[in-house]
Symmetry: C2
Subunit: 161 residues, 2 copies
Amino acid sequence: MNKINRKVEYALIGLKHMRGKPPGELTTVKELTLHYGCPFEMTSRVMQNLAQKGVLRSEQGAYGGYQITKDLNRISFYDLMAMILGPMAVAKCMHSSELESACEIRETCNIVSPVQTLSRRLAEFYRDLTVAELLDGRGGSTGKNLKSSVVAEASMMAEPT
Amino acid sequence: MNKINRKVEYALIGLKHMRGKPPGELTTVKELTLHYGCPFEMTSRVMQNLAQKGVLRSEQGAYGGYQITKDLNRISFYDLMAMILGPMAVAKCMHSSELESACEIRETCNIVSPVQTLSRRLAEFYRDLTVAELLDGRGGSTGKNLKSSVVAEASMMAEPT
DNA sequence: TTAAATACGTCTATTTTAGTCGTAGATAGA
DNA sequence: TCTATCTACGACTAAAATAGACGTATTTAA
Ligand code: SF4
Ligand code: SF4
């Protein structure tokens, strides 16, 4: 459950790879597929997305490739996901302005407010986490959780049978 | 993206419904399907899961039904999801003890550590959020985000084209 | 004895995600 | 100018996860 999207992983792989390079040096998609075994077309598409959003600069033609142009400290993980997957919608009844794609239960639903709460807080969480923070690995713990021992009780449980 | 699981929604619907009742009064699945239009079999299964985990008490036979037995303040949203969906695995390479279901990229992957970081922090987030807190709607904001204006910059963007 | 409920294994349909194919366009260098 | 090598992108197919249905057994109050 709650699996991270594969495209987003490829984005992280690419960004991590490019970060370790001297400034100005380009990276081709082929290079990424050879190093990490990620599928060419998909990775290519992801890089194109990031280029469109201004995170990368693309250079076409022979000896072309991609290059990071934006400070990864200024890009939240939320942004990264949104660039690749579009805006986050935690449930069917959100962002569905009109009738289209709305939830068939919505009229009688008693948890719209809770779900909106969840959506808000989850977005907050993702926006608060920068891509640089993630890639640099200094994400041990928020330290915020010293008070949560009250909740930990029921946490050990197996898969539903 | 990041859509909440439907079964979990049905669980919340059921719990919210039962919370509004006088103690001792039972709730049938049929009652839930009539009130909220959620599918009978699925909702039934979800309630069975919650009963097995001790959140609900089930009474069989005619005039049977379900009843909340555990303090929802002591159940994290993480727990609720885990009861219904099993343990959270943010990526293929996690919790896959042996060769089975492991990521085909794992040997060369350069982002295992970042992904583990994400996993840890996300679990922390979900464990820190109680079901009661969610259902009662007092989940405005964590107030923790006053420092995140630096990140908000790139947040307005449309779907990938 | 019966009606109404939970319990649960298995199956099918739908939706989402992952990955491929084919082609067009840019550019450095021979 | 021609070619190798790259990005750009629309459309398509395959695989996996999610959502839901069916069938049947068991429990229990009336
Ligand atoms: S169930 Fe309620 S909350 Fe979930 S999508 Fe439908 S309406 Fe929104
Ligand atoms: S890509 Fe890297 S992080 Fe993601 S699953 Fe495979 S190994 Fe784990």
